[in-house]
């Protein structure tokens, strides 16, 4: 059986044919891609590790690929990278005391906005019932409306 593999390897490099993927194992490449898209290229302005063509990114990708091949879990790899480069390397900031506001903020805004909306709508209804439109407003609206009908 071994000679078949040897023959395949030789044929791959000797003659033009199907292009070889940069990595040998597609499963590893898929995981690498997944991981690298959440990691920051440390020498770039603002680029993920997956997107970067910088040599340093190439090296780091190779390292991550080796770690995957050694059967390390995603979390182990991330922990290792954070211990070496700090949280800066993660594009998804970890949840910790200094980032509570960051993660909770948008949902606080959403819920707060919703509550404010509900309260405003209720209060407004009360106010409207008390004081309908002023005479001035009514005249103006009337005028605008009549004008629109004149136009169309």
């Amino acid at each position: 059986m071994n000679w078949v593999i040897v023959l395949l390897l030789v044929s791959g490099s000797a003659w033009a044919g199907e292009a070889r993927p940069m990595g040998d194992n597609p499963a590893i490449e898929a995981r690498l891609k997944q991981l690298a898209s959440e990691l920051r290229c440390l020498v770039c302005q603002n680029q993920t590790l997956a997107d970067s063509n910088a040599p340093q990114a190439e090296d780091l990708r190779r390292e991550v690929r080796e770690m995957i091949a050694q059967n390390m879990s995603d979390q182990e790899i991330i922990d290792f990278l954070v211990s070496r480069y700090g949280d800066f390397v993660l594009y998804r900031p970890p949840f910790k005391p200094t980032t509570v506001l960051l993660w909770a903020g948008p949902f606080v805004l959403m819920v707060g906005g919703g509550v404010a909306l509900a309260v405003t709508l209720r209060r407004r209804q009360h106010m409207i019932r008390e004081a309908m439109m002023t005479e001035d407003d009514r005249r103006r609206v009337e005028q605008l409306l009549s004008q629109r009908s004149k136009e169309s």
């Binding site: 033009a16 700090g86 949280d87 709508l121 005249r139 103006r140 169309s152």
Partner: protein, 660 residues
């Protein structure tokens, strides 16, 4: 000599801006028509002065005058002429000049299209814009002068950043700034109305077209920037949640809310106070965006702090503009009436809910953009906030907005009935749910996000169809075409803009769900298959550009044995800064892009190559274009036309008529 003329013109412009920002506003306060009338000649002469300054800087770039520091820093004699001229806005000082120039252009436009406005209103609007201009001119003249001399002159310029040497650079910044600065008109209208205490439906109608036009420019500007990043950066992404992109996206979100809130104020007299607040917010975010990008604070908080002059000016200017306008708001807004009443279920409430969600989304983007800066400034550690964060935060916030987008235009003003509404949209809902469930399976993959994307897109489209059908049913007489033609343009504009969102959503969904990518090593003659397309690598050759040398690869693309196209991606080395750039080659199509980008040379003539198949990616920018066209169509509606044709009819009884 020429740069000194430009410098001098800026100084004169500052004097004029100062007069424009004070005298007419005072005149409006005391009711002096002659002082108010000063606003127009002041605004126009300011425009011509800044035009002269802009022309002088352009001339310095044209002549390769490297005795001007800014020209020496951003240009080079080998740079082709169109990029030399685009280099005017290639860095900080020139961008500020472009900003100010566009501000005076908008001012000039206001003087031309405002003869229907009461003189006091017009004086206040131009006065506020004059004050904004004072800030920018002062900033330029004190710490960011584009005309500063370099003595002795440099022999050769340092060249424009190669990343910026692209047709996108010629168009993207001016469009973006037209949008940013255009919101200054809405801002000035709002402040003028607050100052004058005449916050009424007429005010909303007058400022609506201005706001919509600015929004259209910003939409196009952002789309151009995104498209540029897509082909220039060489890794096929179209949106990176980069702080620079967020800086332009925040005013867009707030501006979108403003456009909708103005609609309510215009048609129903409601939301006045909220509309004013949105106008202030939108322009403040535009200012913040300009300064975030231009001050260098994003690249490094510490670099920003070590050159504190600019930073200090920026922060105080922002504080004055935002703080001042909010103070005026707090002082004046409580006196504004409520406007027409409406029930908790009505078109008004749907629009208000959409506004709240849009602002929450804006807040989330703002938080994610500024958070790392604050942590770093407070020495609490360096973090990166990137696409994974924004994607997971933004999608839940924007989904309700897209849902409301379908139902809002169908709901009646004032009071809508939930059961009746539900009945009217039931088939639209059915079609959307069916599409969401079935279409991904037909396309070969089912994921929740794919399903959500198709659900929202078909919801927007199907509810729009319901809306058109109902509109036609209400009309009598005329054939189908005739009745369609009688629908107002503002209505078509709205449908088109919403349709643009649907197109955009389809593009995003398809690209995210079905794009395929190959990262391969290719020798001459090797083939690789991506998305059913066969790419054959036919080697590289050396080519020479005007200011770079390049290695150009040749790729033959075929499908099912049929030759389709030949693509030539390049790897360029720009000579002045010895910088390497990847120039991707793209074959664009309505339903897919083929994208090739050269990586690094490997041993024995092989190259690492990235190949992408991106289905429907052009729909992303096509959707933005459709949105902008919708905006333009809405502005051309006849309801705004009397605004600058038959003005006497338009002045409402309540407004002060002080001469014309």
């Amino acid at each position: 000599m020429i740069p000194e003329i430009g410098h001098y013109a800026l100084i004169l412009a500052l004097c004029v801006a100062f007069v424009q920002g004070t005298v007419p506003v005072y005149g409006a306060a005391v009711g002096n028509p002659r002082l108010m009338a000063l606003a127009i000649p002041a605004a126009r002469s300011q425009f011509f002065l800044v035009l002269i300054a802009f022309g002088c800087l352009a001339y310095a770039f044209f002549m390769n005058d490297f005795s001007v520091l800014y020209v020496a820093a951003t240009s080079n004699s080998q740079l082709p002429l169109h990029y030399r001229l685009a280099a005017i806005w290639g860095a900080h000082e020139g961008s500020l000049l472009l900003w100010t120039f566009i501000l005076t252009m908008w001012m000039f436009a206001v003087t031309v299209f405002s003869s229907h406005l009461p003189a006091a209103m017009r004086a206040r609007i131009l006065g506020v814009m004059g004050l904004v201009s004072v800030g920018f001119l002062l900033f330029m003249l004190s710490v960011s002068n584009p005309f500063e001399r370099l003595i002795p002159a440099a022999v050769e310029g340092r060249d424009l950043n190669p990343l910026l040497q692209d047709p996108g650079m010629v168009l993207h910044p001016p469009m973006l700034y037209m949008g940013y600065v255009g919101f200054s008109v809405a801002f000035a209208f709002a402040l003028a109305a607050l100052l004058g205490g005449n916050l009424d439906a007429a005010w909303a109608r007058w400022s609506r077209p201005w706001t919509t036009v600015a929004w259209c420019f910003l939409t196009i500007g952002i789309a151009l920037g995104s498209g540029w990043a897509y082909y220039e950066l060489g890794w096929g992404g179209w949106w990176f949640w980069d702080p620079v992109e967020n800086a332009s996206f925040m005013p867009w979100l707030a501006g979108t809310a403003l456009v909708h809130s103005l609609a309510v104020t215009d048609k129903r007299g409601g939301f006045k106070v909220w509309t004013v607040l949105l106008a202030i917010m939108t322009f403040s975010l535009s200012l913040l965006g300009t300064f975030l990008v231009r001050s260098g604070v994003l690249t490094s908080v510490h670099a920003f702090a070590t050159d504190p002059k600019r930073g200090l000016f920026i922060l105080s200017f922002l504080a004055v503009v935002i703080g001042g306008s909010l103070a005026l708001y707090a002082w004046r807004a409580p006196r504004v009436g409520l406007g027409g009443g409406f029930a908790p279920v009505s078109r008004e409430s749907f629009l208000l809910a959409n506004n709240v969600m849009l602002i929450a989304a804006t807040g989330a983007v703002l938080l994610g953009t500024l958070y790392p800066l604050f942590l770093d400034a407070l020495d609490l550690g360096k973090i990166s906030v990137g696409p994974p964060y924004f994607d997971s935060v933004f999608v839940p916030l924007i989904t309700p907005v897209l849902f409301l987008m379908g139902i809002g235009p169908l709901a009646q003003w004032k009071k809508a009935e939930v059961p009746a509404l539900a009945k009217r949209v039931r088939w639209a809902a059915g079609v959307s749910v069916a599409t969401a469930l079935i279409l991904p399976l037909v396309l070969g993959e089912w994921t929740p996000l794919l399903s959500l994307g198709f659900l929202l897109a078909s919801w927007i489209v199907s509810t729009a169809i319901v809306s058109v059908r109902e509109q036609l049913a209400h009309m009598t007489g005329g054939g189908l075409i005739g009745r369609l033609g009688r629908l107002p343009r503002s209505y078509w504009g709205m449908l088109l803009a919403h349709g643009g969102i649907a197109i955009f959503v389809i593009g995003v969904t398809m690209v995210k769900g079905f794009e395929t990518e190959q990262d391969v090593r290719m020798n001459v003659g090797d083939t690789a298959v991506v998305g059913g397309y066969v790419f054959r690598f036919d080697g590289v050759q050396n080519v020479k550009g005007p200011n770079y040398t390049a290695v150009r690869g040749t790729f033959h693309v075929s499908r099912a044995g049929r030759d389709l196209t030949v693509l030539y991606p390049e790897k360029r080395r720009y000579l002045a800064q010895n910088q390497v750039m990847t120039e991707a080659a793209i074959d664009s199509g309505l339903v897919r892009d083929l994208y090739v980008s050269l990586g690094e040379p490997l041993e024995d003539g092989a190259w690492s190559v990235r190949l992408y198949h991106k289905p429907f990616v052009n729909w992303i920018w096509g959707g933005c274009l459709v949105m902008a066209v919708g905006g333009v169509l809405a502005v051309s509606d006849r309801r705004y036309r009397p605004a600058w044709r038959r003005e006497p009819q338009m002045v409402p009884a309540g407004a002060q008529l002080v001469g014309r």
